[in-house]
């Protein structure tokens, strides 16, 4: 039962991303929203960690948050809008938000 994990905190000031990465199942998805998109900042250990995730783990980022921060989704990640966010929730068995 694959889980979509939802993150919204900056990975530089917070341990949610690293804790989440340790718990990810091989078919899970990771959606970065809010300040969590800073994990896609080039030249960072955080981006490297995301790039190193097994290929079976899908990585998504909310496009409005990327845009606001002048960030771009690398090839490894897919930028999505709200309609796609809604559909994504249906594709995974459950959604786990790291509040």
């Amino acid at each position: 039962m694959a889980t979509l994990h939802l993150l919204s905190h900056s990975p530089f000031s917070d341990s949610r991303l690293s804790s989440c990465l340790r718990l990810l199942g091989p078919e899970d998805g990771l959606l970065l929203t809010g300040d969590a998109v800073y994990a896609l900042q080039p030249g960072t250990a955080q981006l490297q960690a995301l790039q190193l995730m097994p290929a079976g783990i899908a990585l998504y980022a909310l496009d409005e948050d990327l845009q606001a921060r002048a960030l771009h989704a690398p090839a490894r990640a897919q930028a999505i809008d709200y309609p796609a966010f809604v559909e994504l929730c249906g594709r995974y068995a459950k959604v786990n938000s790291w509040l």
Binding site: L6, S8, H9, S10, R16, T33, G34, D35, L62, D81, Y82, P83, F85, V86, E87, C89, G90, K94, V95, S97, W98, L99
Partner: protein, 130 residues
């Protein structure tokens, strides 16, 4: 698909706006919202007393309009609300507080409503933190 949407953050938090945009997209996409449940600091997102500057987003106003427009089941957790000073007229009177800041379409109820919504929906999606 039926969604239960829980909000744990106040209206100035980006996650509150994200929750609303998500909820709007869910309905626009032909899905249903079984219930909105506001818990922890999310109770502030239901406050009727927020006076946003004219040039800023009035998110609590947008939430209210959204709930009313779509006649959604919108519940605020009573225990979380009371300890954060979000009261309807009945509770303000009960606790002898000077003002009520919660009114329709919001209903005060218990955590059981969150569980019920999670059980009857196809997906529970929580928003909160930042």
């Amino acid at each position: 698909m039926k969604f239960a949407i829980a909000l744990f953050a106040p209206s100035h938090a980006p996650s509150s706006r994200r929750a609303l945009r998500f909820a709007q997209a869910a309905l626009d996409g032909g899905h249903q919202i079984a219930r909105l449940f506001f818990y922890q600091d999310g109770v502030h997102s239901a406050s009727g007393n927020i006076a946003s500057p004219q040039d800023e987003l009035d998110l609590s106003g947008e939430w209210r309009t959204f709930v009313q427009q779509h006649k959604l089941d919108a519940v605020v957790c009573i225990a979380a609300a009371l300890r954060r000073g979000v009261l309807n007229a009945e509770e303000a009177q009960r606790y002898n507080k000077p003002a009520a800041n919660l009114e329709a379409p919001w209903e005060l109820s218990g955590l059981g409503q969150l569980h019920e919504a999670a059980q009857m929906a196809d997906r529970l999606v929580c928003f909160g933190g930042h």
